[in-house]
């Protein structure tokens, strides 16, 4: 049996046991978010940087529900549409608590939410030079993925499909090509809709998946969180077990010798 306990995910020299990264957005409440995340077994959670509500000082804080000492907060630049905004956001995020591990996401279109790869590449270079450990949300283009790697990215995070679309992996071939060309952690980010999508990502050889909407907006988020946890484990174990070759014709499972 594959010993999954020894199979850690290493990002920027930090070891993680879970290969599922989850977002903290779109939940009905902070307590629902915290419970779902605990059930998912995730150790890394993405968070957004936003203005403090100065008129309502008693508003609950994310940090009161998810202890930043127990979870690795991964500040994300979601909502940024150019390099300047993204850099400003991550520099502030670092200042909140000294986080260097960040997720860069520079969007290019408000409707399809595809990443603007020119701005993303530019930002990756700057952040890497400033000592950030950058996990980069990108499209599923192997050439761009290579450029990000050369620019100093610490993890490549191609989309499966548009953010929040729930469409699952649309371009398996590209993901496999990116897998072959890089030793960096490869994490599918965005577009997953159900647990089996995560299994497919892991079976393609990805190192992990990032899920938010599929769990937060499921009818039963707690059960979906568990489903994703199991799906990632199943996919990883399947990938490491070495699947059989695909053949066109049938091949009987019982021996033909000794048939009466």
């Amino acid at each position: 049996m594959v010993n999954l306990k020894k199979d850690s995910l290493i990002i920027a020299n930090k070891k993680f046991n879970s290969r599922l990264i989850v977002g903290t957005g779109k939940y009905k409440s902070m307590s629902e978010c915290a419970k779902a995340i605990k059930l998912s077994g995730a150790e890394i959670v993405t968070v957004a940087v936003r203005r403090v509500n100065i008129s309502d000082k008693n508003k609950p804080l994310l940090m009161d529900y998810l202890d930043p000492k127990k979870f690795t907060y991964l500040p994300n630049t979601a909502g940024c549409f150019n390099s300047k905004e993204a850099l400003r956001t991550l520099r502030l995020a670092r200042e909140i608590g000294g986080w260097k591990l960040v997720k860069l996401e520079v969007l290019g279109d408000k409707k399809n939410l595809f990443p603007d790869m020119i701005e993303t590449l530019k930002s990756t270079e700057v952040l890497a030079n400033e000592g950030f450990k950058v996990m980069v949300y990108c499209n599923d283009d192997p050439l761009m993925a290579k450029r990000l790697e050369n620019a100093g990215a610490d993890a490549i995070m191609p989309l499966a499909a548009p953010i929040g679309s729930g469409l699952g992996i649309q371009n398996k071939i590209n993901i496999q090509i990116i897998r072959k060309q890089t030793k960096l952690p490869l994490i599918i980010d965005a577009g997953l809709g159900q647990a089996s999508d995560a299994t497919i990502a892991m079976e393609l050889g990805c190192d992990g998946v990032l899920v938010n909407t599929a769990i937060a907006k499921a009818k039963k988020p707690f059960e979906m969180a568990l489903a994703f946890k199991n799906a990632v484990l199943a996919g990883r174990q399947s990938y490491r077990s070495g699947r059989i070759d695909k053949i066109l014709m049938g091949n009987p499972s019982s021996p033909s010798k000794g048939i009466i």
Binding site: G23, I54, L62, A93
Partner: protein, 72 residues
């Protein structure tokens, strides 16, 4: 009694009146901002949270106070 001079500054997009000799530390204390959970910008420059008592505020200063919230 001498009238206290006030100046207007912007905090997170909202206009606030403060006494003209306030430093940033006092303003943050009045807003009950938990310093260990936020980052602060003064006129688009990140400031060192440990030195807020040394930062004097001027008319029309823009302060941004941010923290982490749920996101994908």
């Amino acid at each position: 009694m001498k009238k206290i001079k006030k100046i207007k500054i912007k905090i997170n997009g909202k206009i606030k009146s403060i006494t003209h000799d306030s430093n940033l530390s006092l303003v943050l204390k009045n807003l009950k901002i938990p310093l260990n959970k936020v980052a602060i910008e003064l006129n688009e420059e990140i400031i060192d949270k440990r030195k807020t008592n040394k930062i004097k505020l001027n008319k029309n200063d823009k302060i941004e106070i941010v923290h982490f919230i749920g996101g994908g």
